[in-house]
C-alpha cells in the first residue's frame, strides 16, 4: 500500500509540474483528489485495510494529500501570475502618445510676477489693498506734495477727465487713501494700473506699478534698504546686485532710485540696460513728513517709507520677453509659453 501511495505522489507531482494552464491543473486535481480520484479512492477504501495497518496508511495518505494540495496551490499561484503577465503584456501602451483631457492654460506673466511680489510682502507683514484708478487731483498729486504747477508734474504727463479728475499716474494715490483710512502702524502694498499720456515704442499709456508704504515709529532709510535687499533677492535670485542713486520724488525725502542687475543680460550689458548691466527697478524713499501731516498723521511720532517699482519692465526681463508690446497683445503663441 505504501508503494502505491508513493507512486501516486510521484505521478501526481510530475503531472502537476507539467501543467501549462489552469484547465490542465484542474484535470490533475480531479484525477488525484476529485471524488473519483486515485487518492480519494484509497482513502475511501480505508476500512478494507487491516486495522493494524490502517493507522499508518491513513497517516501516509494524508501526507500525500497535503503534499499534492500544496503542489497544486503553488502551481495555481504560478499559473495565475503568468496569466496576469500575459494580460498586462496585451495592455501595453505607447507612452509617447499624447495625454488626454483638458490641457492646462496659464496666468499672464504680469499676474505671476505680482503674485510673487505680493507673497513676499505679505510674508513680511504687508496688507494688500487696491483702490481707485480714476481719482481726484488731490489724491494723485496734491496730497503727495505736488501742488498745481509744480515742476514735478512735468515728470508725468497725465490723462485728464476733468480739471479735477485724473486717471492716476502712479499707484502712490493709494498711499494717501491708506494714510487716511488706516491708523499706524501699518504696512500696505497695492499693485495696480497707472496711466500716462505717453505712447511710443518704449512707453505704453497703461502700465503697472506696485506701491508699498510703511508707517510706524522708528522707520528709516535702513529699513527701506534692508527690505529692498530682501525683495530683490527673492524676486531675482540671491546673486542680484543692487545700485542706489539719489533721486527726487515730491512725496519722499530722501528719495532714491534702485537699480538691480539687468535680468535680461545677467549684468553683462545689453541694449535694454544700455550696456550698464543694471536696470532701474524701484523709486523709493522716506515718506516726506509734509505728506504724513497732510493725511493727518503726526510726523513727530511716526515716520515711514515708500517704494514703487514699475512692474512691466521687470516682468519683461525676468521672462526674457523680447518686446514690451507682447504684454498686452494677448497672442496665444506668447501666452502658451507661460505655462
Amino acid at each position: 500500500m505504501k508503494e502505491k501511495l508513493d507512486l501516486i505522489l510521484k505521478n501526481g507531482l510530475e503531472q502537476i509540474e507539467k501543467c501549462v494552464d489552469l484547465k490542465a491543473l484542474d484535470d490533475v486535481r480531479v484525477r488525484f483528489l476529485g471524488k473519483q480520484g486515485e487518492l480519494t479512492a484509497i482513502l475511501r477504501n480505508m476500512k478494507e485495510i487491516p486495522a493494524e495497518e490502517r493507522k499508518n496508511v491513513g497517516m501516509l495518505a494524508n501526507v500525500v494529500r497535503e503534499k499534492l494540495e500544496k503542489a497544486l496551490s503553488d502551481k495555481l499561484a504560478a499559473l495565475e501570475e503568468r496569466q496576469l503577465e500575459i494580460e498586462m503584456e496585451k495592455e501595453k501602451v505607447d507612452i509617447t502618445m499624447p495625454g488626454v483631457g483638458v490641457k492646462k492654460g496659464a496666468l499672464h506673466p504680469l499676474t505671476k510676477f505680482n503674485n510673487k511680489f505680493m507673497d513676499i510682502c505679505v510674508a513680511m507683514g504687508f496688507t494688500v489693498i487696491q483702490g481707485p484708478e480714476i481719482d481726484t487731483d488731490y489724491y494723485n498729486f496734491e496730497a503727495l506734495n505736488v501742488p498745481k504747477n509744480h515742476p514735478a508734474r512735468d515728470m508725468q504727463d497725465s490723462l485728464y477727465i476733468t480739471d479735477n479728475i485724473v486717471l492716476r499716474t502712479q499707484t502712490s494715490n493709494m498711499q494717501v487713501h491708506a494714510m487716511e483710512k488706516m491708523k499706524p502702524p501699518f504696512k500696505i502694498v497695492c499693485p495696480g494700473r497707472v496711466y500716462r499720456n505717453d505712447d511710443d515704442s518704449s512707453h505704453s499709456p497703461i502700465f503697472n506699478q506696485f506701491e508699498a508704504l510703511v508707517v510706524d515709529e522708528n522707520i528709516g532709510l535702513k529699513d527701506l534698504m534692508k527690505m529692498i535687499d530682501v525683495i530683490l533677492k527673492k524676486l531675482f535670485g540671491e546673486d542680484v546686485k543692487m545700485r542706489v542713486r539719489p533721486s527726487y520724488f515730491p512725496f519722499t525725502e530722501p528719495s532714491i532710485e534702485i537699480d538691480a542687475t539687468c535680468q535680461m543680460c545677467g549684468g553683462k550689458g545689453c541694449s535694454l540696460c544700455k550696456g550698464s548691466g543694471f536696470s532701474e527697478v524701484f523709486g523709493a524713499g522716506v515718506v516726506n513728513p509734509k505728506v504724513l501731516e497732510m493725511s493727518g498723521i503726526d510726523s513727530k511720532k511716526y515716520s515711514g517709507f515708500a517704494f514703487g517699482p514699475g512692474i512691466d519692465r521687470s516682468v519683461m526681463v525676468t521672462n526674457k520677453i523680447p518686446n514690451i508690446k507682447y504684454l498686452y497683445r494677448n497672442d496665444l503663441r506668447f501666452l502658451k509659453q507661460m505655462r
Partner: protein, 799 residues
C-alpha cells in the same frame, strides 16, 4: 542739461578722469546720462601750413601740397580749390577717424603719395558760427597765427568733455555751471572758487537812459543795465567754444554774453536794442487780451491777460521769460543795448510757455525756478564779460526793482538724533558738519541741536529729512551694504493679508487655468464705438471720455469687458491661433453722471471668452457653476438680457434679492459680424466685487444615512416648451422627504414621439433617513412623481 568740464574747472580745481566724475555725480543725485568727448573724432588731426603747391602731373584736378605739420613735413594731394601757398589748414594724418566716418591712410594718387587729407569745418564737426570759414564748401582756412603742428582739438578749443546731466526738479539751482560746480566741490571736498564779477563803467547814470516800471505782481525782481558803443563782432574763441560745447549757437558778443550768463549762472537774460525801445521805457505787465507779438522763432502769438510781457511805452517787446520779440532784439546794426536780468513767477512762465508751445532755455529755467538773488551776480557777470571782451561802454548803475533789498538767509534748527533715525545709521559728527559746510550749508552742532544757515539758492531744504538726504547722498549709500540688521527691527510687528477680492480672484483664476484658459490683459481704455459694436444701449453707453486722449482708439474708459476680448479673439484667429480659451480680470468704470462730477464706480469683473470647435453653452455653464461653487453665493439662472449675447443661448445669474451678478452664453450673431469673427464665441462675466463681499462659504455636514438609497429611472415625453428645470423641480417636490437627487441622463427626439415633443430620462435617487424603503413605498413615490408631472406638464411616461 549739458555741462562743460572745462567750464566747471573755472569754479573748482579738479583734474580727474571725466568718466569717474560722471559716476560720482550720478551716485550723488545728478545722473549723468551721457559723457561726450568732443575730441573723439579729432585725434591725428593737426594744424598745418601749406608751403608749396604744384600741379599733379597726371591729373588736372589734383594738386600736390607740401605741408609743414610742425615736427615733420608731409605731402598731401588735394582736389580742393580754396587752398593756397601759406594757408594754415587742418591736416588729418594716418589713423585719423573723422566724424563723418572717413578714416585716413596714406594712399597713392596716380603714382604720387599722399600722407593724409585737408579737412573742412564739417569734417571736424564745426560750422560757420563757430569759426569763419567753418561752413565753406572746401578746406577750412585757419587764422595765420595758429601754432603749426598743434593738435586741432587744442588749436580750435575742441578738447572739452560734456556731461549730459539730469537735474531733478527740486534743484533748479543746478541748472547752471556754478550749481553743478558747487556739487562737485562738495563731492570732492574742494573749495568753490568764484569767477570775477568786476566791470568798468564810463560813469553817467543808467536812470538817465532807461526807466523800468513793474505793473504786475508776477515779477518780483527786474534788473537792467545800459551799455553803449557796442562792438558786435564774433566773440572770442574761448567763449564760442564754451557755448558750442553745450549746444548753443554763437552769434555775436552781446547775444553770446547773455547766453554765457544763462548757462554759467542759470539766469536767463535778454538784450534789447535800445533804439527800438520807444519812450526809453521798460514796462513789465500782463498782456492785453488779443495783444500780438512777433518773436524770434519766426511766429506771431496772440496773448491774453494771463501772459506776462515786457513792453516799452507802446508795444510788447518780449513774452516775459519765454522768448524775445523781433521788434527790439539786438541786431548787427545795434549800437546801444539794455540788459534785462529778472525773476518771474514760475507758474506764470510755465503756463504761457505751455499754452503757446514754446520752450526755450530761458522758459525752461524760469518754469523750474530762478531765485530772487540770482540776477544780482548774473548782471554783474554780464557786465564783467562786456569789459573783458571790450565790446561796449557801460554806463554806471544797475536798475533793480526788488523791494526786498536784503534777502535773509534761512536757518534750520534740526535734531541730529532725528536725522540719525531717518538714516538708520550714525554718520560721524565731524563728517556731518564737513558735508553740510561743503554744500554751502553753514552748520554747527551743539548737543543734539544742528543749526544750519542755508545758502539762498537752497530753497528746497526745510527739515531733517532734507538734511538727511544731503548727508547720505554725499556720504554714499554704500554704507547700508556694511551695516548689520534687518528691516523693521525697531518697529511693530504687523500681520500681512490679502484683500479678499484678490484671494477670490486668484482662486477663480487657478481654476480657469486648470481648465485650459489663458489670462489676457487689455487696456482699460478703448474707442467710443465699443458699445455700438456690442449693441449696448443701456447706461453702459455713458462712457467717461478722456479730455486729452492719446488717440481715438484710447479715448474712453471702458464700461464693458467684452470688447477687448472680442478683439483678442479676432486677432488670434487672424494669426492662425485656434482653440482660444481666454479670461481676464479687470475693471469697468461706471459714471454716476456725465460729465463726471464725482468719481465713478470701479467694478471688478472676471470675464471668460471661448472660441473653440465643439464648445457649447453647457460646457460654459458647467464652468460657471464650478466657479461659483467657490463662493457662498445663492443664485438662479434666467434668460439673459445682455444685448450682445444670443437671446436663446444665454443666461443671467441672479441672486436671491434680484441682483444680476453675472451672465454667460453665446455671443450674438450680429456682434460676431460687427467684429468680423466667423466662429461662434462663448462669453461669461462675473462681478467679483460682489462675490468677494459675500461671507466665506460655510459647511455643515449632514449625517450620512445608514439606509441604502434606491435608484429608479423614468423617461417622460413632454412638449418642447417644458424645461428640464420645470421637470426636476416637480420631481423634487413630489418626492418630499425621501428625495436624494435627480439627474437628467438622456434627451431624445424622434418622429415617433411626434413633432414638438421630446423625451427626458431621469435617474431618481430616493432615500430615507430612518428606514430602508420598501418596494411599495418606492412605487408610491414614483407614481406620485408621474402624476405630478402629468398634471403640471402633461408628461407621459415613455414605455
Amino acid at each position: 542739461m549739458k555741462i562743460s568740464y572745462n567750464w566747471l574747472k573755472d569754479f573748482v580745481d579738479i583734474d580727474i578722469p571725466a568718466n569717474d566724475l560722471a559716476a560720482k555725480l550720478s551716485v550723488s543725485g545728478f545722473e549723468v546720462e551721457e559723457v561726450i568727448y568732443q575730441n573723439e573724432h579729432l585725434h591725428d588731426v593737426f594744424v598745418g601750413k601749406i608751403t608749396k603747391i604744384e600741379k599733379h602731373p597726371e591729373a588736372d584736378k589734383l594738386q600736390i601740397c607740401q605741408v609743414d605739420v610742425g615736427d615733420k613735413k608731409v605731402q598731401i594731394i588735394t582736389s580742393a580749390t580754396n587752398v593756397f601757398e601759406g594757408a594754415v589748414v587742418p591736416v588729418s594724418l594716418d589713423g585719423a577717424d573723422l566724424v563723418n566716418g572717413v578714416k585716413i591712410k596714406p594712399t597713392n594718387f596716380r603714382g604720387v603719395r599722399s600722407e593724409g587729407m585737408f579737412c573742412s569745418g564739417e569734417e571736424i564737426g564745426i560750422d560757420e558760427n563757430y569759426i569763419e570759414g567753418g561752413g565753406v564748401n572746401g578746406i577750412l582756412i585757419l587764422p595765420n597765427d595758429m601754432k603749426i603742428g598743434a593738435k586741432i582739438e587744442d588749436a580750435l578749443m575742441l578738447n572739452d568733455v560734456v556731461f549730459d546731466v539730469s537735474v531733478t526738479p527740486n534743484r533748479p539751482d543746478c541748472n547752471s555751471v556754478i550749481g553743478i560746480a558747487r556739487e562737485v566741490c562738495a563731492i570732492y571736498n574742494k573749495p568753490f572758487k568764484d569767477v570775477d564779477y568786476d566791470f568798468k563803467t564810463i560813469g553817467g547814470d543808467v536812470k538817465n537812459y532807461i526807466n523800468v516800471e513793474v505793473k504786475t505782481d508776477r515779477c518780483p525782481r527786474y534788473m537792467a543795465a545800459y551799455v553803449e558803443d557796442l562792438k558786435l563782432t564774433r566773440s572770442p574763441l574761448w567763449m564760442r567754444a564754451r557755448l558750442n560745447a553745450v549746444g548753443i549757437k554763437p552769434i555775436n558778443t552781446i547775444v553770446d554774453i547773455t547766453n554765457y550768463v544763462l548757462i554759467e549762472q542759470g539766469q536767463p537774460m535778454h538784450a534789447f536794442d535800445y533804439d527800438n525801445l520807444e519812450g526809453k521805457k521798460i514796462v513789465v505787465r500782463q498782456a492785453k487780451k488779443g495783444e500780438e507779438i512777433a518773436v524770434l522763432n519766426g511766429n506771431t502769438y496772440k496773448l491774453d491777460e494771463n501772459d506776462m510781457v515786457i513792453a516799452d511805452s507802446v508795444k510788447p517787446v518780449v513774452i516775459a521769460g519765454v522768448i524775445g520779440g523781433t521788434n527790439s532784439c539786438v541786431q548787427k546794426e545795434t549800437k546801444r543795448t539794455v540788459f534785462e536780468c529778472a525773476v518771474f513767477d514760475l507758474k506764470s512762465i510755465r503756463l504761457t510757455s505751455r499754452k503757446i508751445g514754446v520752450m526755450t532755455d530761458s522758459s525752461l529755467r524760469y518754469s523750474k525756478g530762478v531765485y530772487l538773488p540770482t540776477p544780482v551776480n548774473a548782471i554783474k557777470r554780464a557786465l564783467n564779460l562786456v569789459t573783458k571782451l571790450n565790446c561796449g561802454k557801460i554806463v554806471s548803475g544797475i536798475i533793480d526793482t526788488c523791494k526786498v533789498k536784503d534777502v535773509k538767509e534761512r536757518i534750520i534748527h534740526a535734531s541730529m538724533s532725528k536725522i540719525d533715525k531717518i538714516l538708520g545709521v550714525v554718520i560721524d559728527r565731524e563728517r556731518v558738519l564737513q558735508i553740510l559746510n561743503s554744500l554751502g550749508v553753514k552748520s554747527t552742532l551743539s548737543g543734539d541741536n544742528l543749526t544750519c544757515v542755508l545758502p539762498l539758492y537752497r530753497e528746497d531744504l526745510e527739515c531733517e529729512n532734507d538734511l538727511a538726504e544731503e548727508l547720505i547722498r554725499i556720504y554714499g549709500y554704500d554704507v547700508y551694504n556694511n551695516v548689520d540688521g534687518v528691516a523693521f527691527e525697531n518697529s511693530s510687528v504687523t500681520v500681512g493679508a490679502y484683500e479678499p477680492r484678490l484671494v477670490l480672484e486668484n482662486n477663480l483664476k487657478s481654476q480657469l487655468v486648470e481648465n485650459g484658459f489663458y489670462e489676457t490683459l487689455n487696456y482699460s481704455l478703448y474707442s467710443a464705438s465699443a458699445c455700438e459694436k456690442l449693441l449696448i444701449d443701456d447706461e453702459r453707453k455713458n462712457v467717461i471720455r478722456i479730455a486729452n486722449p492719446i488717440s481715438e482708439e484710447l479715448s474712453t474708459v471702458r464700461t464693458v469687458m467684452a470688447h477687448a476680448l472680442m478683439l483678442d479673439i479676432k486677432f488670434n484667429l487672424s494669426v492662425g491661433n485656434k482653440d482660444l480659451r481666454f479670461f481676464e480680470s479687470g475693471r469697468v468704470y461706471l459714471p454716476k453722471e456725465l460729465p463726471l462730477k464725482e468719481l465713478p464706480v470701479e467694478n471688478n469683473r472676471l470675464s471668460v471668452a471661448v472660441c473653440e470647435d465643439g464648445y457649447d453653452f453647457f460646457q460654459l455653464k458647467n464652468l460657471l457653476e464650478n466657479l461659483l461653487l467657490t463662493t457662498s453665493v445663492e443664485y438662479s439662472l434666467v434668460r439673459s438680457t445682455e444685448p450682445y449675447l444670443h437671446s436663446g443661448v444665454s443666461a443671467d445669474i441672479i441672486t436671491k434679492d434680484g441682483k444680476k451678478i453675472g451672465y454667460f452664453g453665446k455671443i450674438h450673431k450680429k456682434v460676431l459680424k460687427n467684429y468680423d469673427i466667423s466662429h461662434d464665441v462663448y462669453y461669461a462675466e462675473l462681478d467679483t466685487d460682489y462675490l468677494a463681499s459675500l461671507p466665506e462659504k460655510k459647511f455643515a455636514v449632514k449625517e450620512i444615512s445608514k439606509f441604502p438609497a434606491v435608484e429608479r429611472d423614468i423617461a417622460v415625453v413632454v412638449d418642447e416648451s417644458v424645461t428640464n428645470g420645470d421637470l426636476t423641480h416637480a420631481i423634487k417636490s413630489a418626492c418630499g422627504k425621501v428625495f436624494e437627487s435627480v439627474e437628467l441622463f438622456d434627451v431624445y427626439r424622434s418622429a415617433q414621439l411626434g413633432e414638438n415633443k421630446k423625451s427626458l430620462a431621469y435617474k431618481i435617487r430616493l432615500m430615507s433617513e430612518d428606514k430602508t424603503l420598501t418596494t411599495e413605498e418606492i412605487n408610491a413615490v414614483i407614481n406620485k412623481i408621474l402624476k405630478s408631472l402629468e398634471f403640471r406638464y402633461h408628461a407621459k411616461l415613455r414605455v
